[in-house]
Each structure stands twice: as structure tokens, then as C-alpha cells.
């Protein structure tokens, strides 16, 4: 680093929405005003993953972490830290329920338990500057592969590393590459799946926004190994910044001769085009995705025709996830031994034997440290939630963690010591999926969450096959009925039967996994279903049709002085009362919309 200090300003989506760009400008102005321009550099970076603490600035090389910054803090920060060399404790992170600030990023619980492989350049580079990537060993793996390794050797390394797909299924990447290489045909393709359909995950977006070249380099290595000269990246339209960053990366790589004809003078040619997804979850599925790249509606086809042989335009095609591609260059550079030393199981005989390396998770929901974390495979759920995640806020009780998104399931307290790897998650009825991890506490209703996921998959079911289209619809109807207090005891059995039918008979894995949230909630939280059905009660008070709203007369009068806000806001005129007097809810008229609860500032509205 030619500069004495680098101010790494997080320019991820979360921090930008918290005005980090204004912060960056203020920093630059202040640095100029103080005559530090030659000594201190301001660098915008991708997401640090710790969005709840944003906007974030990290001062490198010391790794001092500043959070929740405001423009008005900047003059003081520059004066103290940069001029006088005194870091500013009051702008540092303080763990919940503690008092002492933690100056260094790597000492903060959230970052300490992490191990960055796919996210290796997180917060360290300007994603729009290829030189930053190159300065941190970028494109060295590609050079190594092109100049010193045969395609078979590359495949051998990836196979031996035990790398498995990070996009959902966990299929061994080396085996996929090998089949695609062996498949017949002169023209083949590689595709990067950046459709990121799981509604609770954003790691792929963060990788592309923060380090687009890592994905490009991985794709180029794969293309060389398989014998491909054209690649595609399929990015969902909801990620405009990712698309823009990837465009910039493509242009820079072409300008540097790292893409295009005759790369490094080795005779290997490869280029990548971007295709924008159009908002359909099913397009994350391999065959649907390829249909969409071909300009057709994204409907999947039967599984027995393999895309490694008959993929895009019926040609052999290798599809991998963003994180998978981004991991490849590191394996090439640091070697099989290093990679296999991380994680669970034994892959020396075959890549299915374990889960190696690291995985990125988006940790969110009822947890203190929400954000993106990359951890070694095999970490326990407990370590993840309590050490990295900092536990549940407001002293509430943990209830469940949902992994794998709409295809995954809920895991209860009893399974907190489960190790996070492909096999153990699947055994517990959930799955790795893309790495969404949503924590729920006692205020969440499991029936409602199951309904949420099924609403999503039902809505996204493409409609091509009947079991998925109609089966999920019927299941959803039953769940809605239960949440409305109209459930009958037979519903539970019916839900289970339908689930197995949908899993077995659906055309693609969308239907094949859609019932998982329902099945796991039935397996681990059956009591809650029974309470909804038998007692017509929702213990978490989420299913509003089962709630009874009342007004506590004392609070209403003493604290609120009969303010009347609830009466004016109630859409059904169900609240009666004179100004400055106690108010009351007419249970006959109440439609249970819950507005009164939302608007009462005095906590006088009670639910039971």
C-alpha cells in the first residue's frame, strides 16, 4: 500500500442506503482540507456483510472498525485518528450488553469466527478497479492454469478438493466439469447462475457487487478445463448494481487481455456475456435457466436428460453457482491439501464423502448480528447463532432456524449442535440450499412461516407439471384454513400425504423440495399446528384471525388519556369511546386487522 492509511468506505447496498456515499465525500473533503491527500486514500468497497452496523468505515492496514458513522463525525475522526493517531472509541463497535468498544475488525465476534475464501477480498478492494483485484493475487490462478497445467490436471485438482456446488444441490463440481468435458460436441458452454432466487439470501449478489473478477476468473479456469470459449452469466434483474459491476469487470478484463482471444498468448480464447433474468424463481433451476438464456419462457424439463450433455442450445453446458466459481481460483492457488483441511468428512476416495471448504451464509431474522458470514463447513448451528450471530435480541428465546430457503426446512433447539454440512442438514429434513439462514424466536409462528414459504413456491410454480401446480395449491389452502381457525384434525395427515406426493411426482426440484418447510415444521413443531387446530389459538399471535384484541382501560386512560388515535384509524369503526375517556373494541365489528395495536403509543391494546 503506497498510502499511510486507506479508509475503506463500505459502498454495499445496505451502507449506501444509510448514506455511506455522502460519508465518503465528506471524508475526501476533510482529508483534502487537512492536506492529507498524499498520505491517505479513500476506497469504496463492496458489502462488509455487517449491514446492521452501517455505514461502516475500516481503516487499513490496522483494521480499525468504525460503525454507524454520520457526516458530522468525520472532522473529528480525521483529526483524531489520521492526524493525531488516536483511534476514536466512541465510534467503534460495542457488543450487545457490554460496555467496552472493540477497535479491531477481526476481534469482533461477528468477524472472528469467519474464514474468508469466496469473500476473500471483502472490504479490501474497489470492485470497479481490476488493479485492486490483481494486487491481491487476482488472475494468478488463471495464469498458472493456462501456462502450467493441462485441462485434465485442473479437473483433477477440483475433484480432489471435494468442492461441491454452493447453489443448492451440492453436486461435486469436479465431476460435473469432467462429464461436460467428456460429453460429445465441439461447442460447449459454461454458465454462472446468479439468479439467487432464495428470498432470504444475498451472498451471490454481494460477491458480484464486491468482487466480480473472482467469478470471472473462476469461469475462465472452468472454461479452459472443459474446453469452452463462450460463457454466460445469468443475473436477476432485481440486482442492477451487480449487473453494472459485472459489465465494468468484463470491459476491464477484455482491455487487459484476460478475456477474449488468445489469453496470455496461450491460444486459449474465452468471453462472457450477461443475460438478465426476469423475475422467476424457477429460472434458478438449470434447465429453466437455459431455456431463459435461449430467450424462451423458463420452464424446466425432465431430469433424465443431463445438461452437461444436452444443455444450452442442446450443447454440453456446465452450470455453476456464483460462489462455486468464486471459490475455484483459491483452490488452484492454495492447493487441495489446504482446502480439504477445512470442513467435514473425507473426500480422498470420492467427492461425495464430505463437505469441504467454507460456505457463505446470510444470517438474518431474530439475531443480533445480521449479515453475510463465511464460515468453515462443519460449524455447529449453536456457534453460528450465538458466537458469530451474537445471539437473539431483547433476551427472547430461540425457537428455530430456517436453512435452505423455500426448499429447506426449520431446525429446532434440540438440533442446535448439528454440524452444518450437506449431509447433516439433509438428514435433518432441511438442506444447505444457497445458504439462507433465518433465525426465529418465540414471537414467530411456525405455521405462518410454513405458509409463507409455500405461498412463495406456489406463486413461483411455473405450472408445467400438475403435482407441483395443483399439489402446492391444495397444501396452501389447508395451511390458510388452519391459520384462519378453520382447520380440522385430519388436515395434518392430509398435509403430510400431499407433501410426499408433490415431492415424488414433480417434474423439477422446485416441486420436489417445496413441501420441506411444511414437513419440517410438522416434524419439529407439531404442537403448534395442534394448538391452531384444536384450541383455535396462535401462541405467537401472528395468525390474526385467531387473536382477540382488547384495550386495557387503565393504560388507555392513565397513560394515553383516551387519545382516540385507534378509534380514528380503525377501518371498521369497531372502536368506541369519547375523547379523554376509556376506549373499547366492539368484538362483533372487529375484523382483527391489528391497526389499533400498531398505532397505540401507550401499549394499551392487548392481544390474546
Amino acid at each position: 500500500m503506497p498510502y499511510r492509511a486507506n479508509m475503506m468506505v463500505c459502498a454495499g447496498t445496505g451502507c449506501v442506503s444509510n448514506h455511506s456515499l455522502e460519508l465518503k465525500q465528506a471524508l475526501e473533503e476533510e482529508i483534502q482540507k487537512r492536506g492529507l491527500t498524499d498520505e491517505v486514500q479513500v476506497v469504496p468497497t463492496g458489502c462488509n456483510g455487517f449491514c446492521g452496523a452501517g455505514p461502516i468505515v475500516v481503516v487499513q492496514p490496522d483494521g480499525i472498525f468504525y460503525q454507524l458513522l454520520k457526516v458530522k463525525d468525520i472532522p473529528y475522526l480525521v483529526e483524531e485518528h489520521l492526524l493525531k493517531g488516536r483511534p476514536v472509541p466512541r465510534l467503534m463497535y460495542v457488543p450487545p450488553e457490554e460496555k467496552t468498544p472493540i477497535p479491531k475488525m477481526n476481534d469482533i465476534g461477528f468477524f472472528k469466527g469467519q474464514m474468508l475464501v469466496a469473500l476473500r477480498n471483502r472490504g479490501m478492494i474497489d470492485p470497479e478497479n481490476i488493479d485492486d483485484y490483481i494486487a491481491r493475487d487476482g488472475y494468478r490462478s488463471l495464469a498458472k492454469v493456462l501456462t502450467t497445467m493441462t485441462p485434465d490436471e485442473v479437473i483433477g485438482v477440483i475433484k480432489a478438493s471435494g468442492l461441491r456446488g454452493r447453489g443448492g444441490g451440492g453436486f461435486p463440481t469436479g465431476i460435473k466439469w469432467e462429464s461436460c468435458k467428456k460429453a460429445e460436441g465441439d461447442i460447449k458452454y459454461v454458465i454462472c447462475n446468479a439468479d439467487e432466487g432464495d428470498p432470504g439470501a444475498f451472498m451471490d449478489r454481494s460477491i458480484i457487487e464486491g468482487d466480480p473478477h473472482s467469478v470471472l476468473e473462476g469461469m475462465a479456469i472452468g472454461a479452459y478445463a472443459i474446453g469452452v470459449s463462450q460463457g454466460y452469466i445469468y443475473v436477476r434483474i432485481e440486482y442492477p448494481l451487480a449487473i453494472q459491476r459485472f459489465r465494468i469487470a468484463l470491459k476491464q478484463a477484455r482491455d487487459y487481455g484476460l478475456l477474449g482471444d488468445n489469453i496470455f498468448g496461450t491460444g486459449f480464447s474465452f468471453d462472457v456475456d450477461i443475460r438478465r433474468g426476469a423475475g422467476a424463481f424457477v429460472c434458478g433451476e438449470s434447465t429453466a435457466l437455459m431455456a431463459s438464456v435461449e430467450g424462451r419462457p423458463g420452464e424446466p424439463r425432465a431430469k433424465y436428460i443431463h445438461t452437461v450433455e444436452h444443455g444450452l442450445w442442446n450443447r454440453p453446458t456446465c452450470l455453476n453457482n456464483v460462489e462455486t466459481w468464486a471459490t475455484v481460483p483459491v483452490i488452484i492457488l492454495r492447493g487441495v491439501e489446504w482446502f480439504t483441511s477445512i470442513g467435514t468428512g473425507d473426500v480422498s476416495q470420492n467427492p461425495w464423502g464430505g463437505s469441504k471448504g467454507t460456505k457463505v451464509f446470510s444470517l438474518a431474522g431474530k439475531i443480533n448480528n445480521t449479515g453475510l458470514v463465511e464460515v468453515p463447513m462443519g460449524i455447529t448451528l449453536r456457534e453460528m447463532i450465538y458466537d458469530v450471530g451474537g445471539g437473539i435480541p431483547k433476551g427472547r428465546k430461540f425457537k428455530a432456524v430456517q436453512t435452505g430457503g423455500p426448499s429447506g426446512g426449520f431446525l429446532p433447539t434440540e438440533l442446535l449442535d448439528l454440524q452444518v454440512d450437506y449431509e447433516q442438514l439433509t438428514e435433518a429434513g432441511s438442506m444447505m440450499g444457497s445458504g439462507g439462514m433465518v433465525v426465529m424466536d418465540e414471537d414467530n409462528c411456525m405455521v405462518d412461516m410454513a405458509k409463507y414459504f409455500l405461498t412463495f413456491t406456489q406463486d413461483e410454480s411455473c405450472g408445467k407439471c400438475t403435482p407441483c401446480r395443483e399439489g402446492t395449491l391444495q397444501m396452501l389452502e389447508i395451511l390458510k384454513r388452519i391459520c384462519e381457525g378453520k382447520g380440522v384434525p385430519e388436515d395434518i395427515q392430509l398435509l403430510e400425504d400431499l407433501s410426499h406426493f408433490v415431492i415424488d411426482a414433480s417434474l423439477c426440484a422446485l416441486g420436489g423440495s417445496a413441501p420441506n418447510p411444511v414437513l419440517t415444521s410438522l416434524r419439529y413443531f407439531r404442537d403448534e399446528y395442534i394448538t391452531h387446530i384444536r384450541d383455535k389459538k396462535c401462541p405467537a399471535h401472528i395468525c390474526r384471525d385467531l387473536n382477540v384484541y382488547t384495550i386495557d382501560p387503565e393504560l388507555c386512560l392513565v397513560k394515553g388519556h383516551g387519545c382516540g388515535v385507534c378509534r380514528r384509524q380503525c377501518p371498521d369503526s369497531a372502536i368506541v369511546g369519547e375523547k379523554n375517556q376509556v376506549h373499547n373494541i366492539d368484538q362483533e365489528l372487529c375484523k382483527k386487522c391489528g391497526v389499533c395495536l400498531d398505532v397505540c403509543k401507550f401499549d394499551a391494546v392487548k392481544v390474546a
Binding site: 449506501v16 432470504g200 430467450g295 446470510s362
Partner: protein
Amino acid sequence: MDDLAVQTYKVQEIISRWGPKPDLVIEMLHDIQTEFKYLPEQALNQICREVGVRLATLYHIATFYNAFSLTPRGKHQICVCMGTPCHALGAPRIVEAIERHLKVKCGGTTEDLKFTLEVSGCVGTCGLAPIVIVDGELHGLVTPVNVSKVIDRYSD
């Protein structure tokens, strides 16, 4: 030039940007959607003629993908994040509050064509959940009560 002529001209420009290649029609539709905020019927006819994709296929695509709309959307797009974390932290109540405030159903557009209300999957800032995005600007930690103020800032 009248409106239709302008539209024809712009669609022509979009087609030339991609070249009349049938496999790129989704890209063209994206650009048309961005330009006009929906897919006008004449634009689809034009693509059908110039690119050689059947009209039925175009309608299949237009209705299959959520990103496309066959009716005009509002001037301001409100999008409530319905990702799992936002949902777990109360996003459905936010949607209801906006529905009440604007008198519009989710997925619909207000009568004055000012606002369209929609939901999306995780937008990637769960630390600030629940999230509402208006015209691409992100607002975090919204509540059923303060969300109407957020929206009103856009009702020029």
C-alpha cells in the same frame, strides 16, 4: 412526431441495440419495460415483425416473467421486501399499512397512476429489516406507522 411514432422509433432503437436475434428478445423486453414502464401492445407487434418471434411466444414470455407488465405501472414504484427475514420481522403488516394508505391492493397501481405497490424477495440488507424501496431508494426499519410518511415524500 406523435406519441406512437416516438414509441416506434424507440423500440426500433432497442431492437437494433441487440440485433434482430430471437434469443435476445428477453433483453429487448427488459429495455422496453424500462423505457415505457410496461410492454405496449404495438411494441410487441413490432418485435414480432422485426425479430421474427411469434406473438403468442411474446405474450407467453411477457406473462411468464414477473419483471414484465402489460398494463402501465405507476410513476413511482413501491416495493416492500418480502424476503424471509423481513417477513419474520413484520413485512406483511407494512404491506397492509401501505394498502390502506394508498387505497391500492398489492400488485396494483393507484388510480392516479402515481404509485405501483409490489413485493420482492430479499433485497440484501436484512440488517435493516423491514425494508421498503421506493424508486430504487432503500428505506430501512420501517413500521406500519411511519411508512406512510416515507411514501408521502414521493407524492409530488
